[in-house]
Assembly symmetry: C2
Homo-oligomer: 522 residues x 2
Amino acid sequence: MDELSAAYRWGDPDRSVNLPDGVRALLANALGVREPRPPARVAALPPAALPDSALRALTAACPQVRTDEAARLAHAAGMSTVDLLRLRAGDATGAPDAVVIPAGHDEVVAVLAACAAHRVAVVPFGGGTSVVGGLRAGRGGYAGVVALDLARLDQLHDVDPVSRTATFDAGVRAPRAEELLSGHGFTLGHFPQSFERATLGGFAATRSSGQASSGYGRFDQMVVGLRVATPAGDLRVGRAPHTAAGPDLRQVFLGSEGAFGVITEVTVQIRPTPPERRYLGWRFPDFTAATQAARALAQDGPLPAVLRCSDELETTINAVSDGAQAADDGCLMITGLEGTAGAVTAMESALADRLSGLGAQALGPRPGQAWLRGRFAAPYLRDALLDAGALVETVETAAFWGALPDTYVAVRDALATSLADLGTPPLVFCHVSHVYPSGASLYFTVVAAQAADPVAQWQAAKAAAGDAIAAAGATITHHHGVGRDHIPWYRDEIGAPGSAALRAVKQALDPEGILNPGVLLP
Amino acid sequence: MDELSAAYRWGDPDRSVNLPDGVRALLANALGVREPRPPARVAALPPAALPDSALRALTAACPQVRTDEAARLAHAAGMSTVDLLRLRAGDATGAPDAVVIPAGHDEVVAVLAACAAHRVAVVPFGGGTSVVGGLRAGRGGYAGVVALDLARLDQLHDVDPVSRTATFDAGVRAPRAEELLSGHGFTLGHFPQSFERATLGGFAATRSSGQASSGYGRFDQMVVGLRVATPAGDLRVGRAPHTAAGPDLRQVFLGSEGAFGVITEVTVQIRPTPPERRYLGWRFPDFTAATQAARALAQDGPLPAVLRCSDELETTINAVSDGAQAADDGCLMITGLEGTAGAVTAMESALADRLSGLGAQALGPRPGQAWLRGRFAAPYLRDALLDAGALVETVETAAFWGALPDTYVAVRDALATSLADLGTPPLVFCHVSHVYPSGASLYFTVVAAQAADPVAQWQAAKAAAGDAIAAAGATITHHHGVGRDHIPWYRDEIGAPGSAALRAVKQALDPEGILNPGVLLP
């Protein structure tokens, strides 16, 4: 795999997906997607701008500093469709001047000191899976930009089977964390779509939420402790599951996206590996009935570890993608039950009772198995769709249950209308995949033909969606973070005093403003 | 009831408790408590120091300003034993110069502006139940001190039965909140020992935790939204159950103890009133077995809404207080099951299976009923104990399960040794009353004979306990807040960068530093 195509693809081209015939037909007939968009073969990297003195200081702080094109390209962007589209067009202007790869916490501290002294911007880099522009640092006013790659912070430090906690280095990737824990009989249970690439530190810095969030919680709920390196000194937060000692500082660093400090260790709640996992499908007559059932389970149980329901169009498209001859009608719900065999069987029975009373038809394990097989497939499919000339991206939000139906309609319509206005009417479909007693997430997928300038095309649609989310009183993101892309709506969401409070924290911990400038802070 | 005795007592003297004979005997024989300590009849209030110009500005902002002795005395202190001891000795030097009673959010905003302009310190005052010195503002450098009493912010604004949320004014007291919600078929489920007096805003500002926290969560987990008035402007935080849009600002104001702003509205998760509540007792051979069983329930269920277990001495003392002729041996666990009758019966059966496997003997409903009757009685009993010449106070902490046994021993021994060293060997007993998958709280009660200077006596014991908590790596408070009393340990707990971050937030939102000076911030 050449360096550029590694940067603009989620997956290895050797593992690339062939679009199913049904999807190709849909693209051509419904969206007019007929012309492949092959990516550029050469990337325009900016010249490395780091002054020699800064490079020497960095190398003194951390011997592993790379300035080669491959390293810079691999850290040039995140994994949003806009990030990939830019790289596919050969635009790698977001690349850092150097990539610093510290061996541990102390080298992170030293790198921060060197960067503060030389006014070099620092982009903390975990799995590189940001989809909100969280890895594109501002260059203005800085001597240069470095990516701080945490890949070598890769150890499991401690497993406490009594407290059921484990302390990891922040750079440990999710599959490796599960592998390390499974040797002790435990699981973290955090399976976001970015699972294959993302790191525990990244999950913490961006408030990740996994597909089994009903059973295991959001990542910010799993974290019981953090170690953070800041230019103003180190912090360890989290001496107990909960405390009444002041504001919860864990919740200040969770979601701080590298702007307040570099998370170097994460202590998380772990659980015994469930001996049994059973994934079942249910059909509802429509999305309203399905979301009402999801609410009933979130509020009164039984609540499976995985709970998601697709709207009518997503249900149809999933069926087409799976090669079904005739699309199912209605809406599909997937429930994932985890635990002892006895507990899973008891829950299946309770769930069947509850859901049949709410209008569901049991579809058995087949749809659940299909979902499980494809749970991490969407980013691979995106590579193929972009190659084929389609624009594909997602938008997500969360709202209280009372506001959810109107938010769903408003965001869907905003995406549809804004892209139709550009001459590329899209397919917009949605699922609910994270539920709480008071509300839920909505996750929209958009597919359209690529316009001549697909970056501008998507930015227009995203702006319309963001405005619709704000007008509905919902939040601009449920689990993607703020990055650069969400700042305008985030600013309105927290207001001037909220922004002032965050900027004050930033100023106290990072007085030179070197940490991920331009990201997060309104 | 005269004004002074209203201030130094939890309860109305007309509802005062007679100490049970067993308790009197224990005080006399085990602790040498024989001489009653009648309180002073006259309080020394400092002269009201507020300049006329400030008073005029305050009155323009909010017509209800009181400067009479009764109002000042009623806001002179919280409800810690030290607070009560000082008032009992006639020392009311903590009293504010005036009490401002705004009619709503807009008057709160106007009061903050007037106080900022005239450099008057503001102590937000809800139920007045702080036990950590959270209501004693610093006078140094200020033109005066006012208590901002939120009693007139007493409305239920909205009940959303779909999202199961309710929005209350911050000054609504807990019993009134339950009464208002029960009309809609809902409960908040928050029953801390301060229930009878405390307000929802106070719960939020101090991260309260109620006796049914296993079933309903801590108060900081119930809050989905806040409205906050700050000198730098208003905030509304909480547009969805959870968001990945930056640090969770709700968790910055939760626990902020009036130092960052005045919480004026609180939106909370509510639940249907459970049709059935069943409280059951279980005997374990010792505290180790009881806490291990509590951990098993917290980690693997079934988890009742209320779960608490007393150590050996607390079990004995509870039995004596209840008038038992012979003390039970072993340790008592109370479980509170809430829900539909069917769910409660199913849980009772599952609980009996689980706990008998963990060494428990079922005691049936009698101990549960006794606990339920006495659940809010301890502060009334304290009034009687102080009258009788005993010193009584509590210390609480939380730790991860792995650290809990050592923390228990260290804190108990520190309290016992420090008071023995002063010639007043105490009784120290403990319970676990809040459990989480990764750890639990420990709540110690201390009873000793009052020394000549009982304030200094307790401060010595408290310092020893705080040092033991810190040395054990636990947190200085699980649900009492920081106030003034916990600042030294809190400073070490969050470190210099944590303190700097909090001071920065304070500076951004309260640039004149008028909000509760001397409280919370290290």
